[in-house]
Structure formats: C-alpha cells, structure tokens
Amino acid sequence: MKWIVLGESDGKIKLTSKGGVKNAILPKGSYLTAESGENKFILRVDDSRQIEPYSPSPLIVDMDLSGINADRQCKNEITAYRIKDEFEREDGMIDFIPPLTEARRSSQEEVDLALGMSQSGPKVFIATVQSNQNRILKDESGRHITASLPDEMFFHQILICGKTGSGKTVAMKYLAQYFTEVMEGAVLAVNVKDVDFLMMDKSSTSNDDKIKSEWETLGFPPHGVNNLTMYMPANRDYERIKGINVGLCKRITLSVDEIDPESLVGLLQGISDKGAMSLPGIFRYWRQYRRKGNENFSNFVKYFDESDDNKEFNTLNERGDESRIKLHSGTYENMRRSLDTTQEFFDNKNSINLGYKDILESGKMSILDFSGDKGPKFGSILLRDLLKKIVNAKDSLLSKVPILIIIDEVHQFYGSDDTKDALSDLDTICRTGRSKKIGIIFASQSLSDIPSGLSSVINTQISFKTDSSTLKNIGVRATQDEMEGLDTGFAFASIHGLPQLKILKFPLSYSGVVKNE
C-alpha cells in the first residue's frame, strides 16, 4: 500500500493513500518512508483517519436499498512528523519533501535509523493505537517491527504504571530476565502479590498464536531463569504455596546485631509525627549502651515499653552524638504497637540474615517475597536495610556487579509523602545509581503512588492501561479512551535515550507466566 505526499502544514506532512484493493487505515505511531531522488525521509504518523472521496448520500439506505459498492471506497488521510532524513545536506539546510512523493511503510532498518537505536538492549515491539485498537507495527512483508530499549535505561530509573492485569508485572519479568541473562547483572525483585515473581524458574506457557509468533520474531523460546533464589520471611509457610519450587526458597530474618537502625523508619508508615523519626536513634542508643550480652529485638521492645512515664529517651545518631527526646504519648503508643508486631521478624532460628553478597552475584535473580499478611511491614524494614548494604558495598567497591532493583507496589514500602530522610538510600540510588550501576524499577497502579521526592528523577516512564492523567508527563497525544482501553501488554512510554518511541508492546516474558493447572 502506498501514500502520496500532499504537502506540509504546521510542520506536519500531509499524505493520502493511493487507491488499491488493500487500502486501509495506517494507525497512529506507524512509520512511513518517503523517497525522493537520492534521499529517504522517515515519518511517524501522528494522526490518521478515513475519508470518503465520493461522499455518498445515505438516502438510498433509508429506502432499504443497498448502495453502490463503488461509492463505499475509502481513503486514508494522514498527518505525520518528519523524524529522520537518511542523508543530511552538507550546506546545513534541509531537503524539501515535494508533493506527489510516494511513501510506503518503513522497514526495520529504516525504523532503527529513525529511532537511533543500537542493536543491543531488551527488544520490544513498536505498537500503534487507532480508534481504540492496538496493533503491533509490521513492515510490508508482515514482519513485526522491533525496538531495542537502550541498556543505559536501566540505570536512569524506570517507572511502570498500570492497572491490575494490564501487563505491568510481565514487563518487569521480561526486563529482569534480560538483565540477568544478557547484561549478566543481579536482580533483586520484590514480590508483593500472589505468586507474581515466584515462578521465574519455570518457562512461560501460552497457547496464543500471537504470543508464539512474537517469541519467534525475537528469536528466543520461553525458558526459565537458571540462577534464582526466593527469600521468604521466616514465619511464612511457603511450602503451602502451590506451584513454587520449594528447593529454591530460603528463610530470612532480620538481625538485631546487623540491622541498620535507619531501616526501622520502615515501621513508621502511617505515623506522621516527626518525633517518630527518632526511633533509629533510640534503637542505636539501646544497642550501643543498654543491650546486655546477646539480647535480641524483643528486649529492645521491652526497653521501649518500660520507659519512664515522661516517655523520654536517649538517642544516639550516626556520628555518635547523644541526645534526648520526649515523645508525644500518642506517637509513643503508635510506635509501641508497631514495634510489638515487628518482633517476629527478628532473630529467627534456621533463617539467614541477608547481606550484599547474597544479592550481588552476576546472573542471579533474587526474589524477596512480601506477599503474606505481614509482608509489607517486614519488607519496609528489610528493603531499607538491604539497600543500605548494597549501596555501601558499591561505594566501597566491594562489588562491580550491576544490579537492578524492582519494587512493585512501591507505596506499600515508601509513603508517597516520605521525606528525603525517610527515603534514605532509595533517594541516593535514584540520584547517583547510574555511576554505581544500580538501577531501580518502581511499579504502581498510578503515578501518584510514587514518593513525591522521587518522581522528578524518573527518566523512563512506561504506562500500561491506566488513567489518562499519567500521560501528561510522557508527552503523548492520546485520548482518554485510548489510554484506558490499552490491550494487555501495550503501553505508552517515554524512554530514556529513545525519545521517538512512544507506543510499544512488551512480549510475554520467557519465564514466570505459567497457567494454573
């Protein structure tokens, strides 16, 4: 099928389809190549619509007579942005695209040129949206057009938004597997729901021909992750979880000896009083000066419980400065309740205390399972502690393994109003992680779930089916219907290092998507 250039208006090229049997609408987001003389111009379709050149009257249909078939002919009228010229003039000027130039759908090579893509990077499919229908872009031969997301994208913070079932988790699995297998990095992924990330050792299964065709295009069959460990809270009865490989599971606990006191800030979700932020200092003081022998966390809780009636505590900061704080009685009660429920996470027998070496292993995927009832609370502390250890190890050059951290439902672990102190190492990673090769993927149902302090450092945003307010940050022109009607796996995106890629589809991940039997 071909299109004919009519001219330019307001910076966009206007085209109309050439008549023919296979005439159809080319969806928004598609790429066209117009050839004139020696030069090729690659265009991206911004708007596409149907026009009826013969404009038949509906009167005949009112009379229950069928119309003339020839009157039903339609043409496709397009406006497109000029993305790339194959050859640049030496005089600094830009070639005209003259009217009556013919254009056709771009090939993979031409799209690669237009997007400035490298050949490496996780491959996704370039997609289109038209009249609430999502399609994967194809060339004239019917082959899928792919795009390689740049590897650098991982270290510039990624946000993935989408409603449940939109394809968010599958995309995370796909990226995680790429990171371990191709980039030979380490992945630390948080599982918060069901068995989302607990089947990564199994190859994905599907009877859908489209999915199989996509895998074929990418050139890889489905396969499980080779090096996988799943870390479960000590009190989780994981043997009862259906379908998981119990042999890959390990129990973990927090250690009163080794925990970073700042991690206890994770307990303070829902406690808004700033006085509560002194908890780490109180714990540090107790551990330094009041702990006797091998007392465990329960003893600290007891210490906290038995404070004098004034609710005053000594504190010790990281520098070793002592101080004293008086807690408001309401704050004290909230903190006491939180500490009470936290005891079971500490010092469990037959459980390991995670260190950076457990995580920072080339080609290893580590899953932290916080999907149980108390999982988020446990995760709020453990995640902070572990991130601290990882950042310290990186800072001290104890490990050069690149790491990707995936935090699903991030608002369960970090409040959307958390201060920079509360965000702690998460904030550090977001701002300086690139140099240390630490990347983070945040996932949530909505942009508003992300801690406000971090939203400004997100460089890549991928939005699956979600509310349209998220789109304003991406710079994509789509209707609310189109945003909310995205099919599973399709997303609008703003990718670091690939600004021209706006609409894409993730393939089904090679591992972790297994049908329930």
Binding site: P56, S57, L59, L65, I68, N69
Partner: protein
Amino acid sequence: MDFDTGSDYNLVLLEDEDKYRLSAKEGMEAIKDGNHSICAYDESIAIYAALEGKAVMVSHALVYLRPDEYLPITYLTLSFYTRSDKIINVAKESAKKTENPDRQAAIDRAVEKMQLIKNYCIDNTVLFIDGALIAGDAYTSVMAEIKKLSDRNIFPVFFVKNSASNLISDYMPDYCSGFNSDMHWANTILKTGERTRFFKYTDGHNSSNSKVFCYIKHMDGSSPVRIEFSTLTYEKHLSSVETILDMIYYLLLAQGNKQNPQIRPIAVAEKYAREVLKLYDINREVRSAGLTPTMNEERWG
C-alpha cells in the same frame, strides 16, 4: 443547457398510459447483476476571455461504474479561438480562426466528447451523458456518432435536469395546457417513482434528427428530470428500456440530492472532470502567452 430546436417538428405519443411506475429495487438488481456495463460522461469548462480571443479549456471525463470502483478516463484540451488574422499568423496552429468563438468552441467540445466516447467506451455499454441529445450546432456530428455507437451496442442516455422546454405543450395543447413548461406539467402529474409515457420528437426539416424522451420524478420536492434517447437507439433496445429506466431511477436515488438531481455516475464524472481541470491554471497559461484579459471573465462548467 437545453435548446429548443424550433417550431417545425413532429411529436408522437409512443405509449398508451400517461404514466408508469418505476422500480428502484429492480434497477439496483440490474446494476448488480453485471449484465450491463455502465458508463457516464460529463465535462467541466474553464474560459479565459482575452482581447485577442478566447481560450477554452475543457476537461472531459468518462467514468465506468465497475462492481467495486469507479474507473475514470479523462481528457483535457486547451484551445484558443480568435477572429484576428494577426494572431493566427503568430500563433499558427496553436489558435483557431473563427468568426464565432462561442459557437466553434461548442462544436469542438462536442466533437472531442464524441471522440473520447468512440475511443474509450467499450461495446455493450449503457452510457449516461449529461445534457440534451439535440443541442446547439454540434448535434449533426453527435447524431452521426450515435449511429456508429449503436452498431457497437452502446446505448447513450441523455439526462436533462434544467429545462424550459415546451415541446409537448406547444405541440399538444389539448394534452397539457396551462403549464409554465413541460417539466412543470410533469411535476404535476407524476408521483415519486413514476415516469411519463415516451414521446417521439422528429425534426421537421431532417427526419434523422429524432429523439425519444420521457420525464421522471424521483423525489418529493425535487424537479423532474428528462431522459432522452436517439430514436434509433430506442427502437434497437426497446426490450431493455424499462430496465434502463429502473436503473436510472435507482441511480438518481443513489445520488440522493434533492436540490441538484443527477444520475450518480454522472455526478462522479463531474467530480473527476472538475478535479482534472485543476491540473492546469488557465489564467497562468494564457497570461504567460502574453495575452490581455478582458474586463469580465467567465468561468463555467
């Protein structure tokens, strides 16, 4: 335009009833069954009046109605007419010497039309043509060509929508009197989906100039239209005439325009004719030839 051909003529009633019912459904079926190849002709004209003469650009369009598409064949001509020998000496064959540019342009236009039809209309075709059969000075050449078309089983049907003709009321005042025109009369006696009986007109001076015509009313609130055939064509294809009239009725409804009734394929031919006319800017072409425009310029088509 419709030219009355003078007062010396003969008019005969060819049918018994005053009016007959048409069937759009049968017309639709006839078109869809593909037994008739259908074609339509229209033209669009641009005129540039200069002091030195008149430039006339004509866009002729022949459009086939195929099962799934309209297939256009177009032909664009540009002629310059002058009475000036001085211009002819300079322009040579690029200009035509004539004492009456308007008359000559009309004749040439008719000749070009018939040439296009002769060369590109396939055999066994119903050919719809906008305008009257016998009109103006070119009708002699048109009639001659129609006979040749008839030998190839090409059935030209002429379609007239604006007419002040009084052929019937003048010839048969007892039959229809008190009306402003024959169309006025037809509008009064016809209901939607009906046609008048056929009338046969024969020129009193030249019996070969003969046509058969009737009026059709296709829509309430819309003027009737006149359908004309050459007598030769009518007599040769008498068995198909009813079917063709049903097709015409259906095609009028397919166009569906109350204010401007037209047979659908002719309307499409008109679109193509107008579009092709835009390919050349007659103003620029004539100005670049160094000619001087008159104060008033006409453009009609």
